[in-house]
């Protein structure tokens, strides 16, 4: 089968690879019909995530058709059109029993600090991902769901991570009516977080980024006030000024490990890999939220240390909330919002590339060319 394969930092290619096989009785093999490149895939692409091995297939956002099921699978059958959450989880461990699917303890042999994620390094379990024609899906009775007939493929693939994560990020903010919510990052997750903040009753939503075309999207798609941080000497002071020097009630970090805005932080983290991530957005979040406010972190960071301004967080009495999103918990409510027309996830899709051209897709997304916001990957297997 054809699959995206990592060849080292900044290098990927599509190549013929062995077909995945059933390795556990509750596995399924899914023929991928649509996948996506996530902003967090770029951390792997840039070589930031420890134990990212050459030969690995990335891709944790995908949908497809069940091709084969293991002997103990009860809920799916060959031919089912399924959406697969990015979390791999058993459904029965201490954490899954409490709804913390992204923290499952039975699927990641390599680390206890993170659950299992498709195509996201061995630090997240060593599973190949869905930027391929076929993929192994463990715990087929637990993770995947049949896509409702009314749902379009583009919307479904965005439910597997970006939409669910943005919605989850807004929930972590514990927004109450009339709150001022600042979202750092106008990528897909940030756009969805901003949009979700309104659903939770925010009185004002502000989005901060450095890419004008993404800020335009945040304004049009998420009805947000927008600020390009490169236009201000100090974005934290500016946010204080526009909130009457109180600060925001809730700040959401939807940027993560490769945040721009500070050359030293960016280079030491993203280029030299001396930090688990560039904490520029996180530090801005800590400094621009009001005392007693909440910082929600859904941007992804690596497992090694980062230079986070923890003292400010402590002295301001902040609530810091974060996690990888337990995707499937979000789906029933998100499906209602999509059906009611409150959310239309596919509106953030700007590009689609055939799997054969995966290297161009990564370069375009990584370099933010051609006003790229979200790139879908189209495999060709039938």
């Amino acid at each position: 089968m054809l699959a995206m394969v990592y060849r080292g930092p900044y290098k990927v290619r599509a190549e013929e690879k062995y077909m995945p096989t059933i390795e556990h009785p509750n596995d399924a093999i899914v023929r991928v019909t649509l996948a996506a490149i996530c902003g967090s895939d770029l951390h792997l692409y840039h070589g930031m995530m420890p134990d990212t091995r050459v030969g690995m297939t990335f891709g944790h956002e995908f949908i497809g058709v069940v091709d084969e099921v293991g002997s103990s699978v009860q809920n799916l059958k060959r031919g089912d059109r399924v959406m697969v959450p990015f979390n791999i989880y058993c459904g029965s461990c201490y954490f899954c029993a409490r709804g913390l699917y992204s923290n499952c303890h039975n699927v990641n042999a390599n680390a206890t600090a993170v659950g299992g994620i498709y195509g996201y390094s061995h630090t997240c379990g060593g599973y190949d991902g869905g930027q391929a024609e076929y993929v192994r899906v463990p715990f087929a009775d637990v993770g995947p769901s049949i896509i409702p007939d009314w749902m379009e493929d583009d919307d479904a693939v965005l439910c597997t991570d970006a939409l669910a994560t943005g919605y989850f990020g807004a929930q972590l903010g514990d927004i109450v009516e009339g709150d001022t919510v600042v979202v750092f990052g106008a990528g897909p997750v940030g756009l969805f977080a901003a949009k979700s903040a309104w659903l939770m009753g925010a009185g004002r939503v502000i989005v901060v980024d450095h890419l004008d075309y993404r800020l335009e999207k945040a304004h049009d798609f998420a009805h947000a006030q927008t600020y390009n941080f490169t236009e201000y000497d100090d974005i934290v002071v500016h946010l204080k000024r526009v909130t009457d020097y109180l600060g925001a009630d809730v700040v959401i970090d939807a940027v993560g490990a490769e945040a721009d805005g500070n050359f030293t932080q960016q280079v030491t983290a993203a280029k030299l890999k001396l930090q688990g991530g560039s904490p520029v957005a996180l530090n801005w979040a800590i400094d621009s939220v009001r005392k007693g406010g909440t910082v929600s972190v859904v941007g992804a960071y690596g497992p090694i240390f980062s230079a986070v301004k923890f003292g400010d967080a402590m002295n301001k009495g902040l609530t810091l909330r974060m996690n990888q999103c337990p995707v499937k918990r979000q789906w029933p409510r998100l499906f209602e919002h999509i059906q009611n027309g409150y959310l239309k996830p596919s509106e953030v899709v700007t590009h689609r590339v055939p799997l054969e051209h995966i290297a161009e897709g990564y370069h375009m997304f990584s370099s933010k060319l051609d006003k790229c916001i979200k790139t879908l990957v189209v495999p060709s297997a039938e």
């Binding site: 103990s72 899954c96 042999a109 972590l172 960016q266 375009m364």
Partner: protein, 188 residues
């Protein structure tokens, strides 16, 4: 203003927000939010107390913070070569130790070199032009996308080609120097 007790007023009333934003406030009640409370049991589809164990086909590396090998695990890219030895060594340290992660990061760099060299002995050698996707600069408006927009990432983007090509340029230079030295010795 934080110097007095009142919360700053927002520009729009609730009714105005509801009229302007589709779905405004539909999740105002925390009970409508699927991740509230954070910990809550819901049926998952699991029909086991502890999952059946996947067959271990090679000694699978695992975190020392696990009591045993997890019942299900990924099987992509088993460790091999020098990078594989480094990775196995790294897994002797807990996730709380910097050594664990730093050795894994170093192994990643070694892995890339090993695989690049190995690819030259195959019919599908690494090609930095196609694998970096750099040709999309021509088709996806590389110059127009970057310049004139005050992008913050332009300050460090020039480092990317050095990171990608630098080690190869250094290696090629070292190889040339070695060949020259051998030739000179033979000549002498």
């Amino acid at each position: 203003m934080p110097y007095t007790a009142d919360k700053p007023k927002i520009s729009f009333s609730t009714d105005e927000l509801r009229a302007k934003i589709p779905g405004w406030g539909v999740d105002l009640d925390p009970r409508d939010r699927p991740s509230v409370p954070r910990e809550r049991f819901e049926p998952t589809g699991a029909h086991w107390d502890f999952p059946e164990r996947q067959e271990e086909k090679w000694p699978r590396e695992r975190s020392v913070e696990h009591k045993f090998l997890t019942p299900v695990f990924g099987t992509a890219c088993p460790p091999k070569g020098v990078s594989g030895a480094m990775r196995k060594y790294a897994y002797g340290y807990s996730e709380g130790r910097a050594a664990h992660w730093l050795i894994l990061l170093a192994a990643d760099r070694v892995d890339a070199v090993e695989n690049h060299l190995r690819s030259f002995a195959t019919l599908h050698p690494d090609n930095p032009i196609t694998e970096t996707g750099v040709l999309s600069e021509l088709t996806r408006h590389g110059i127009r996308s970057r310049f004139g927009h005050n992008r913050a990432d332009l300050k460090h983007m020039w480092l990317d080609p050095i990171i990608v090509a630098g080690p190869w340029v250094v290696a090629a230079g070292a190889a040339c120097a070695a060949v020259k030295r051998v030739r000179k010795r033979r000549h002498d």
